[in-house]
Amino acid sequence: MDRRQVLQGLGGAMALTVPPLGRGARAAEAPLVAGLPSGTYEIATLEPLQGKRPLIKLTTRPPNYETQASYFTSAITPNEAFFVRYHLSTIPRVDAANWKLDIGGEGAATPYMLSFNELQTNFEQVEIAAVCQCSGNRRGLSDPHVPGVQWGPGAMGNAVWRGPRLKDVLARAGLKRDVVEIVVDGADGAPLTATPDFVKSIPLSKALDENTIIAHRMNGEALPHYNGFPARLIVPGWTATYWMKHLTSIRAATKPYDGFWMRGAYRIPNNMFPVVQRFLSQETEVNTPITEMVVNSLIAAPAEGQRFQRGQVIDVQGVAWDGGYGIARVDVSADGGATWRPATLGPDGGRFAFRTWSHRFAGDSRGNRRIMAKATNRIGQSQVDTLIFNPAGYHNNVSRPTTIVIA
């Protein structure tokens, strides 16, 4: 890298990268869960990023903001409350009128470009509800702590996504027989040209899955800027690292993509988690890319520390989700895990969506009560009781208690 590159890169950074705060923005104390590093409590605040309701700000540049747990009493997460996660801090505002999606690569016989209008009109448009969850969701609760964005439980959301299937878009590019991966890139970049651009790949089989789409609508609206306007990849069941925002190119690759964000990041030790869909062309002797989400649940209400009168009915609510097998049951404990009762499941929004659940019980004795939830999916996987530690703090699906006070 030379000075000129540094200057060019940094010039771009200055013009583009500072996330403007929404109107009337004021820092407020963030509702953080227990168990995060103490430094996180000192610096995290509740702030409205532009176009967003107040979110829990962990870092400003690049912006990493999580959704408050209270939103997860609903299956659909509002766009304005949807979490924000970036790796690199040069984030251009994309003009849809001038946006082009480049479909090609060495494995494509007939590469072509799509305009935003063509993306919406040249292919069948489909809708799917799917959970978008950061791989590092709950990293801040790792014990011991591990470096990275110290997410609590809110680096996730569920939305109804609309757009063409990736397989239809790829078919028009004439995929050759030797394609192994589909490589995706977005408009965001780094201040320094020496920094690896955020580029990801998915196996061809996942790219051709009928549920993998290019979304230009989210819950019936255009995608918010901070969630990938004008279009992002939707890879239902898999963690959000593959859900490329501000899509600019889709390339058919005939050999495994070897960029930093595939080879040097987003990896889990082999055989540590009960994963069905693996990414075999990227697997090494020791580790493998994170792929599908593990079964998990969240208690959205009551809030940690909430107070109730003795005899009052306590309405426990939350969501459960997994890697696309579907939620079979959620069990709730009102006594710290000693006894469990089945929760009532809400409407089925599809196997990739949040499944709401609820359970009521009478708070008949005074004192602290530890409420826990444990989800089980349709292939028999359940949340774990003790953390499966891994160096990046991924796949934390420990049943985590919410303590309430009955007075």
Partner: protein, 96 residues
């Protein structure tokens, strides 16, 4: 060394430009603070340091600074990197 100074100056300018728009994130006033602020804030806000405290010991801070240089291309010379690791370990590492 000369190149390091030039780069540091560029970063300082950028950090100042960004800081003007971004809420300042104060770091502890101790030897190495200015260098840490200047060389780290060119690419990311300084809350990255504070949310990751105080569980990172010297070994983990060293790995993190090396990652910024080797994987992300941060233009930081060896002497400066050592000074940054010292500052982070003393001020944002586990209590001694």
């Amino acid at each position: 060394m000369r190149q390091s100074c030039v780069l540091a100056a560029i970063f300082m300018t950028v950090a100042a430009g960004v800081a003007a728009q971004e809420k300042p994130i104060p770091l502890k006033d101790a030897p190495g603070r200015a260098m840490t602020e200047n060389l780290c804030s060119g690419c990311h806000s300084l809350d990255y340091i504070r949310i990751n405290a105080p569980f990172m010991n010297r070994q983990i801070w060293t790995a993190e600074v090396n990652k910024m240089i080797q994987a992300f291309g941060a233009p930081i010379q060896m002497n400066d990197a050592n000074a940054i690791v010292d500052y982070l370990t003393v001020n944002y590492g586990p209590p001694q």
